[in-house]
Structure formats: structure tokens, C-alpha cells
Symmetry: D2
């Protein structure tokens, strides 16, 4: 878990920023903004979520599969990562 704790402040800021993008999308829908602009905003927020996923996943792999992990835990972590990636990449 250490990586999401060590980078806690930075990661929370990123989540807040994505939530801000969703606020803008909601406001744009409320105000009946030109829908091409709405599509651009949705596209940008998807990019931001994918980039967050990539960063947390990277920290996860480095922290949870490394040499300091117990054998039992590693087996569980590998099972988890495998099922997560299957779902994320399909």
C-alpha cells in the first residue's frame, strides 16, 4: 500500500481534478452547451482517468510484487493483478 500512501497528496489532487472535469461536464449538460464541447470534455476526463490508472498500477506492481513481499502474499497479489488486467484490457 506504501505507494498510494507516499503519493497520497498528489494522487488525491489528481482525483479532485478529474472530479472538476466531471463538474464541468455536468454544468455543460445543464446549460445545454454545444455537444461537441461536451464530447471533448468527456474525452479529456477519460484520458486523465487512464493516466491515473497507469500511475497507480505502476506503483502497485513495484510495491506489491517486489522481493520484500512474503511468498504467500505474492501469490495472492499475482492472482489479483491477473484478474484486474484481464478485466481492464478486454
Amino acid at each position: 500500500m506504501a505507494h498510494t500512501i507516499a503519493n497520497k497528496g498528489k494522487l488525491i489532487l489528481r482525483v479532485k481534478k478529474i472530479r472538476g472535469q466531471l463538474n464541468s461536464i455536468e454544468k455543460a449538460l445543464e446549460n445545454e452547451t454545444d455537444c461537441f464541447k461536451i464530447l471533448q470534455q468527456i474525452s479529456a476526463s477519460r484520458g486523465a482517468i487512464q493516466s491515473l490508472m497507469s500511475e497507480v498500477l505502476d506503483g502497485h506492481i513495484k510495491e506489491h510484487l517486489g522481493n520484500h513481499v512474503s511468498e504467500e502474499q505474492r501469490e495472492q497479489e499475482i492472482e489479483n493483478l491477473s484478474s484486474l488486467l484481464k478485466s481492464y484490457l478486454k
Copy 2:
């Protein structure tokens, strides 16, 4: 724009739901939750945004490129859609 107006209520509900997912992710980071659970939540919120994108895009194509659109507007819309997809699909 009609499709984002006609489905306004439904689309706003979806945006609110995704924002709720981001609230949970933020809380999970704050509470130093097991980071595998955080990854699952990020993965789910990315799925929800992609599904929103797909729905708004579908309405967009049907409304903005159809036969009721003026020739001048259609040219502009095609240009816009082309640049949006290039960025979204890369």
C-alpha cells in the same frame, strides 16, 4: 445538440454516478485503503466514462451528420468528428 438535451436528465445522472465513484476513490486514498481496491475502483470509473463517451458520441453522430443538417454545418461537423476521433482513438 438535441440528443444531449433530450437525454439531459439521464446523462446528468450518469455523470453524477461517475463523480460518486471518484468521491469513493478519494476517500479510499484518504483512508489508505488497500490499493488493489483503489485500482478496481479506478478501473470501474474508466469503464463508466468510456460508456458515457460511447453514448454521447452515438447521439452526436445521429443528430449532427443527418439529413436535416445544412451542407455548411455538415462540413464543419465532419471536420470536428474527425479530429475528435483521431485524438480519442490514438
Copy 3:
């Protein structure tokens, strides 16, 4: 169809290149190459296919939804594009 005809030579070259990448992947599997290298090759060939998709789709939108298309054909094309994107983006 004009865009896939006008760019026929160029597009066929790209398809041949991707097929060459698949030949290398097959050979690497045959030779029991280090599987990380195989993963890198699969990743590269997926990038090349996505880029081909993006280019053909772009030409398609410009050619098949434009002002020169009959109203009846446009309706059909919009239906087709809508179903293709739903499947591709899910």
C-alpha cells in the same frame, strides 16, 4: 469507397507491415524467444492496427457522410458508423 481506393497502395503497405510483425511474433514463439520480447512485439502490432483503424475510419467519415452522398445512403452510413463505433469503443 474512394478513400480506400485513392490510398490503396499506401494502406496495403501498412497491412503488409503489420503482417510482417505477426510473422516475427510467430517466429519468436516457434524459437521460444524470451517472452517479454514477444509481449513488446504484440504491443507494437496492436499500436499499428489501431493507427490503421484510425486512418481508414477518418477517410470513411469524410467520404461517406459528406454533402455529395444521397440522403438515403447517408442514413444507412450513419447507422453503420454508429454500430461500428459502439463495438469498437466498448
Copy 4:
């Protein structure tokens, strides 16, 4: 490497099948087939490559990060996987 060896025959069959899809795309371009059909074929071959990637990656994680791997090798494998996923998920 064991997983790409154990499943060698099955994986090679999948690669051959994707190559067959590319042959059809090339032929369709040569014959100036309706380009919507070409788009459907490109979309299908991208799905097949993604599914191959997902399978080889899954075997890779299970084989190369497990408890039987030396500490030195594991560090290298984690570095490799991290860089591969950053590139694949961006």
C-alpha cells in the same frame, strides 16, 4: 518463458488466425471492397490482437513474477513489466 512454450501450439494458431484476418483485409483493399466491411475487419483483428496480448501478459505475470524466480531476476522483470504497461496503457 515456460508459458509461451507450454502454450506454444495454441498461441501460434492464434497468431496465424490474426494473420489470416490481415490477408483478408489486404485482399479487400486490392478488390476495392466496400470500405465499411474493411473497417469491420480491422476492428475484429484489433480485438483478436488485444485478446492475444491479454493472454500472453497473463501467463507472463504468473510465470515471471512468482516465488520460483530469483530476487535479481524479479527486480528486472518488474522493471520490464512496468515499462511495458506504461507504453501499452497510454
